[in-house]
């Protein structure tokens, strides 16, 4: 999208200096509202059990699912609770899914002495052919079998199954359905081209300088320093930059205190300190030119459990002097120029990836949208705050742009729903490995990747084509 507009003046700067150098004004922020209030935690109490989240989830989603069940299997379908089931009677049951996985890491098993187990190394996927699905509602649970894909589904999903109870006490499933896309939001998008840049996985502090030049090029394009005049005027239409997590690299995580002797590690500074300073400088350059939203990610200095709270502004002294810097939660929801954005730094999707047979990040992203919940595996396998009366991860309104960060590669898809919903699904790739960011055009919900590269010693003709 940049290129077509910029093409006419592409070679304009291959000329002697002109007297007037044009400056473009950044598109003003027309309508921005941060809607992440449900993800903000105030006083935190960890003395609760996690059962409350599941109860809240089921209570909230039950009416939606019953509605869907009626739409799918007819109004006369008998919606029953598990305790009311009759053997052989076709009925529909709404409940929470639990997948009993053999390979799922269990801390109790690990520390149990009688089992004498060696701790299991982390696997990329924990699925196993012997996994079983169990449906739980408020009072009982029942094993599921039949027309249901055990491998694909994950614990914590609320779904409705249609079938009948067998003599052996298992439920034979004939069909099932999810909450499907939530209700649509009215469209208030801009009439002219406006872009939002989505970047994730900057990975600062990794110790390897490969992506540093690319990061600098990214900042230069956005701030209007790089490129000919056409490109700069297009870049002026970038109204926002969203950094979706993993600003720091995984290498900044530990001081290796476990393996090294204390006298070696005692006074060493955590690698994240230096990385935060670098981040501060980069953010300063961006903030002087464009509004930036910074979401924390898996390796960033904030809390571990979802929802992750914003980074503290004291870590970014230079950049937080500017009002264009916004430190936001993970997941993040906001209205940008009338378009509703919702996204995470990728922990939810990668967790589902581990416990399901689904391989494609975009597919998983779409599935979470259809299941009506951002992160069903929390709190089972993904750390989550023990909410009490509410579950803020339930999708109540359909966003216009739904993204997840730190994906292995860039993918995007425009999903259309039955009720007129239009969602742009974007998997934002990790910048440190792919040097690619995403530009979303708010006018028509299209998305284009933008990638950067320098040149290296081994550079030859074939190198550029390799999916960088």
């Amino acid at each position: 999208m940049f290129s077509e507009e910029a093409a006419p003046t592409a070679q304009g700067l291959l000329a002697p200096p002109s007297t007037e150098a044009s400056t473009f004004a950044r598109v003003p922020v027309s309508a921005y509202a941060n809607c992440s209030q449900p993800f903000r935690l105030g006083e935190r109490s960890f003395s609760r059990q996690y059962a409350h989240i599941y109860a809240a989830r089921l209570i909230k989603m039950r009416p939606i699912l019953e509605e869907r069940a009626r739409q799918k299997w007819g109004d006369g379908v008998a919606v029953r609770k598990l305790c009311e089931l009759q053997v052989g009677e076709k009925s529909c049951v709404v409940g929470t899914l639990f997948k009993a996985m053999q390979l799922q890491p269990s801390i109790l098993q690990e520390i149990s002495e009688e089992h004498n187990l060696v701790p299991q190394p982390p696997l990329p996927k924990y699925v196993h052919p012997s996994d079983e699905l169990i449906l739980e509602d408020e009072l009982q649970r029942i094993k599921l079998e039949g027309a249901i894909e055990v491998q694909r589904l994950v614990t914590g999903t609320i779904l409705a199954v249609y079938g009948s109870e067998q003599d052996d006490g298992k439920f034979l499933v004939e069909d099932h359905c999810f909450a499907n896309l939530p209700r649509p939001l009215p469209w208030k998008g801009p009439s002219s081209d406006r872009f939002v840049l989505l970047v994730s996985g900057l990975g600062l502090g990794s110790g390897s300088g490969e992506s540093l030049l690319s990061t600098q090029l990214l900042v230069d394009v956005v701030t209007g320093q790089l490129g000919a005049e056409g490109e700069q005027s297009c870049a002026a239409q970038i109204s926002r930059v969203i950094l979706a997590g993993n600003l720091l690299s995984q290498n900044t995580q530990s001081r290796d205190t476990i393996n090294k002797a204390k006298y070696l590690t005692k006074k060493t500074q955590a690698a994240s300190v230096e990385a935060m300073k670098m981040l501060d400088e980069i953010l300063l350059q961006l903030c002087t030119s464009v509004p930036v939203d910074v979401m924390p990610g898996e390796f960033d200095p904030t809390n571990y459990t979802l929802p992750q709270q914003p980074l503290h502004h004291c870590m970014l002294p230079l950049a937080s002097a500017y009002s264009t810097l916004q430190l936001v939660t993970n997941p993040y929801q906001a209205d940008v120029d009338g378009i509703r954005f919702l996204g995470t730094s990728g922990q939810n999707v990668s967790d589902i990836f581990k416990y399901s047979s689904m391989d494609d990040y975009l597919e998983i992203l779409e599935w979470t949208l259809l299941a009506g919940h951002i992160s069903p595996t929390a709190p089972d396998t993904l750390g989550c705050y023990p909410f009490y009366k509410s579950d803020p991860f339930i999708l109540t309104e359909c966003p216009h742009v739904y993204f997840c960060g730190n994906a292995p590669r860039f993918q995007s898809k425009l999903l259309k729903g039955e009720d007129g919903q239009q969602v742009l699904l974007v998997t934002v790739p990790a910048f440190s490995t792919t040097q690619t960011a995403c530009l979303v055009n708010l006018r028509n919900l299209s998305c284009q990747p933008i990638s950067f590269s320098g040149f290296g010693a081994e550079d030859d003709d074939g190198d550029m084509e390799v999916g960088h």
């Binding site: 290129s3 093409a7 200096p17 002109s18 300063l284 990638s451 040149f455």
Partner: protein
């Protein structure tokens, strides 16, 4: 004429200084718009090559455009060497921009040095990094200090609500009503400053303080965030009880601070330490032997010693030397290993904070001398020997014992006027030190004035 100037400049940079001249570097150095810088570079290359085709000049270009990759159209932005320029251009379906990125004498193997050049020049120009850019953003204005302090107070609101209610009881807890309002706020700052210096216990802290000396201007808006930060550090050392007191103390600080001159926010790290340390010093000077404080110190000592000894020692040595140089009078006290409050004390004599301190010290010193006349009970570590009948042996135990003593303050209150701001500092300093280190008894200072006149003098004060 002006045209020629930039050509000469670039020539000088590239050939004489053998620099890598990127467009960004040139833009900042000559103070021109980035696009003009790119054009200048292009112009230079053209002219140089026309004059002298064998010129040793290597150019890198920036190419951007559409590239079909993995089935979708990707906007590619790449820095390429001159020899690869045409190849890159042919790969792109549409070219969005081409311009000179950098000029250098040597052939670059990879783009690392380009990054370094840009990084350096941006680092030195962080405060106006968008000045020569082609895009100006109207919304990017620094936050006013009012907004900053509002944001900070809203963050602290939760943690400070408890301390607000206790604020009134602070003077009562201290045991005597403060004559000046400054005292309770300075004393806690003194405690906190002491503990923060010990707790942080890094050379960085002392560096910050030395820097603070140079800058007097208080960036107050950021100060309020430091006390909570310090309280957090202190949390690690103390239990809840002591913690509450510290929190309480930080509250009277803040309203006071916020009333002071408000400066537009500047990089937070530096200014925030300056007012704090300035205020800490008077705080420390007004902390004559106070029981509550001593309790804290004695508790702190144990914990602190184990963790921070090594860290403190190199600092202490450094400070020890400094002290000798500046004070010159108290040579006999040097054997006391001075703990961290001393740097604050030593820096007090240096010019900038002195005027501020002096005024604060006048009331402080009079306070001290007035207070010093009183007999005070202090807890002193003493060795007690007793005979243990069961074991049939003598046991020596070190116990804390309350001892009343008045000597310390008396001696110093009589000291000469010019050194007045130093001398009152010393007794204050001495006592915390003694409490902590317990190398000298409470009458140790008195020994300096009453050197052993006769042999019986040795047995007098025990």
């Amino acid at each position: 004429m002006e045209d020629e100037l930039y050509l000469e400049n670039i020539d000088e940079f590239v050939t004489d200084q053998n620099r890598i001249v990127t467009y960004k570097w040139l833009s900042y150095t000559l103070g021109v718009h980035v696009n003009q810088a790119k054009q200048m570079l292009y112009d230079y290359v053209e002219r140089k090559r026309k004059e002298n085709s064998g010129a040793q000049l290597h150019v890198t270009y920036l190419v951007a455009g559409n590239l079909v990759q993995n089935g979708h159209v990707c906007h590619k932005v790449a820095v390429v060497r001159e020899d690869k320029l045409e190849a890159m251009k042919s790969k792109l379906a549409t070219i969005a921009s081409v311009h000179v990125y950098s000029i250098q004498k040597a052939l670059l193997k990879d783009s690392g040095p380009l990054y370094n050049t840009d990084y350096d020049i941006v680092k030195t120009n962080l405060h106006n990094c968008s000045k020569f850019s082609a895009i100006q953003c109207a919304a990017a204005v620094p936050r006013t200090s009012a907004e900053v302090s509002q944001a900070q107070t809203s963050l602290q609101a939760g943690s400070q609500t408890q301390s607000d209610t206790n604020a009134v009881s602070v003077p009562v807890v201290n045991g005597h009503g403060p004559s000046t309002t400054k005292q309770p706020s300075q004393q806690p700052k003194g405690i906190m400053g002491m503990f923060a210096a010990k707790a942080a216990s890094k050379p960085q802290d002392s560096n910050k303080e030395t820097k603070a000396e140079a800058k007097e201007a208080p960036g107050v808006s950021a100060v309020s965030s430091k006390p909570p930060a310090k309280s957090n550090i202190m949390n690690n050392f103390f239990g809840k009880a002591a913690m509450n007191k510290l929190k309480v103390n930080s509250v009277p600080e803040q309203p006071k601070e916020e009333k002071e001159v408000v400066k537009p926010s500047v990089p937070v790290a530096e200014p925030e330490s300056s007012p704090n340390t300035v205020v800490e010093k008077p705080g420390k000077k007004t902390e004559p032997a106070r029981i509550q404080q001593k309790d804290k110190k004695s508790k702190m000592k144990r914990v602190d010693k184990s963790d921070n000894e090594e860290e403190r020692d190199p600092e202490n040595l450094k400070r020890k030397r400094k002290r000798i140089k500046q004070l010159q009078s108290d040579s006999s006290d040097e054997e006391d290993v001075p703990p961290s409050p001393t740097p604050e004390e030593e820096k007090a004599p240096s010019p900038p904070p002195v005027p501020a301190l002096k005024t604060e010290l006048e009331p402080a010193s009079t306070e001290v001398s007035a207070g010093g006349r009183r007999r005070k009970r202090k807890r002193v570590l003493k060795s007690k020997m007793f005979i243990d009948e069961e074991e049939g042996c003598m046991v020596t135990e070190k116990v804390y014992e309350s001892e009343s003593c008045t000597d310390s303050e008396d001696d110093f209150a009589k000291s000469k006027p010019p050194a007045v701001h130093k001398q009152p500092a010393l007794p204050m300093k001495k006592e915390p030190k003694e409490e902590r280190k317990n190398l000298k008894k409470g009458a140790a200072n008195a020994n300096r004035a009453n050197k052993q006149i006769s042999i019986t003098g040795f047995f007098q004060k025990k």
